[in-house]
Amino acid sequence: MADTNARAKSVTPNGKAVAFRGGGFAPKPHRWVGGLVFVVLILLAEWGTRTGWISALTLPKPSDVLVTFLQLYDSGLLFRHLGPSLSRLVVGAAIGASLGISMGVLIGLFSYIRSGLVPLVAAIFPIPKIALLPLFVIWFGIGEGSKYALIAFGTFTPTVVATYGAVDNVDRTLIRMGQSFGLSWWSIVRKIVLPGAMPGILSGLRISLAIAIILLVAAEMLGAEYGIGAYILEAGSLYDLERLFAGVVILSLLGVGVSAIIGAVERRLLTWRT
């Protein structure tokens, strides 16, 4: 008790308590805050549109968007749009990411490949892949081929860059250890380099897959009957803001889902991280 009293009055007969000036600069996760921000923003939009403070042309009523979304679900159209979109996303991103990881590892391991391909990757990275869509239509046809190609190409470049960075960051002392025990080159790559690069590759995939979703919409704006992108494009050209927003919400949810999947993979594969 005496101790707490002494702390309450900072000046005691024995001297002045040292002022605390440490702490902070250490972000901690607060799960509910993220949800709260969403709820507050949506409530604000709902309140604004209901009172007329925000005009119906500026922003649709969130409750109307929800109704539209439910209608979409009830009519079964949701899955007719979502199905093709998901398959395009999965196929395109899988092609792009696996090619990207392979090339990134090769760049990380071989000096000649690095010298030859790093400038090439730097040259194609900043090209807006959407601008190449007409070219892909000529190369791969108006059907699914050009859509896969666009998504694959878009995920490929960021995956390459993240992967070779991750391979570069693998602890060299572990590789020397492998050599000193007479491990074969292939064993060192498989058992030391790849697991060591995994954290970097997965965080690279977070970015690549978000880009894949963006490109999915772009790909579906040309010559697709079904798909989230086609749905949004149609809603946009009719100026149907409720449907436009319903589509955007689906994309956001898709992004959250992809991020959650990668989070789960990280928790599964990277338990060894401190």
């Binding site: 002392t173 020397r176 250890m177 050599q179 491990l183 058992k191 697991p195 060894w272």
Partner: protein, 255 residues
């Protein structure tokens, strides 16, 4: 199998690191290499294990390594070099897999080396769960698993605190007493050198040259913490090194 270093010289560009080093490492002996920082002692160890090549001179193996030795020249590193994604047993199995030893045969070796390093209860632990001293014991167990002819120890205790270092030195002495092994032990810590070395090679500052080779005849098992005879050896070594160490400390780093 003995190792002979035959007039090894090494320079990086025009920067001379080691000059005319010749040492004989006899089977069953621990040879300690001490010297001021930057004298090239770790570089010398990398030559012995074939991780680097000297500018001139050569490292010779005299006689064949024992037939059951999987990796005759085996390192123990200062920073442990354990794979953080593999358990203790997995880290040891890593170095056996490439020799085609899996399953039961591997389990038998892993069990044996873990019990010799008092780690039997920690086979499934990940490196992040272990203290520094335990990590280094895992690294020693991993080195023992490949039955080395010569252990190349690069400041193995330097990353540990003083008490852990004492404990591990006792463990190393125990290991050697039960089954003598050949080792080249690089350290900057003279107490370790006089505790573990049959021979202590004192290198001068850069370019590293042999100043003196001190033999300590007291059997390893009889050397205890604070032994007067060892203290005398340690004082003598410090007397040899003191001015070198001071001069080395005052040098600008190459860079």
């Amino acid at each position: 199998m003995d190792i002979r270093l035959d007039s090894i010289c090494h320079s990086y560009d025009s920067f001379e690191v080691l000059r005319d080093i010749s040492i004989d490492i006899a089977s069953g002996q621990i040879v300690c290499i001490v010297g001021p920082s930057g004298c090239g002692k770790s570089t010398l160890l990398r030559f012995i294990g074939g991780l680097e090549r000297p500018t001139s001179g050569q490292v010779l193996q005299i006689g064949a390594p024992p037939a059951d030795s999987l990796n005759p020249l085996t390192y123990v590193f200062q920073d442990f070099a354990l794979l953080p994604w593999r358990s203790v047993a997995g880290n040891i199995s890593l170095v056996l897999e490439d020799h085609g030893i899996r399953g039961k045969a591997a389990t038998k070796i892993i069990k044996d080396v873990l019990s010799r390093t008092k780690l039997s209860d920690f086979a499934e632990a990940l490196p992040k769960q272990l203290s520094g001293g335990m990590k280094q014991r895992v690294a020693i167990a991993r080195a023992l698993a490949v039955r080395p002819a010569v252990m190349l120890m690069d400041e193995p205790l330097s990353a540990l605190d003083a008490q852990t270092r004492e404990l591990l030195m006792d463990d190393l002495v125990d290991l050697w007493t039960r089954q003598p092994f050949t080792a080249v032990y690089v350290t900057h810590n003279l107490a370790e050198a006089v505790r573990l070395g049959h021979k202590v090679v004192v290198l001068s500052r850069r370019p590293g040259q042999i100043r003196e080779i001190v033999s300590i005849d007291t059997p390893l098992g009889q050397r205890a913490f604070g032994d007067a005879d060892l203290d005398a050896h340690q004082k003598y070594l410090w007397h040899l090194m003191r001015d070198e160490a001071r001069a080395a400390d005052a040098e600008l780093l190459h860079g």
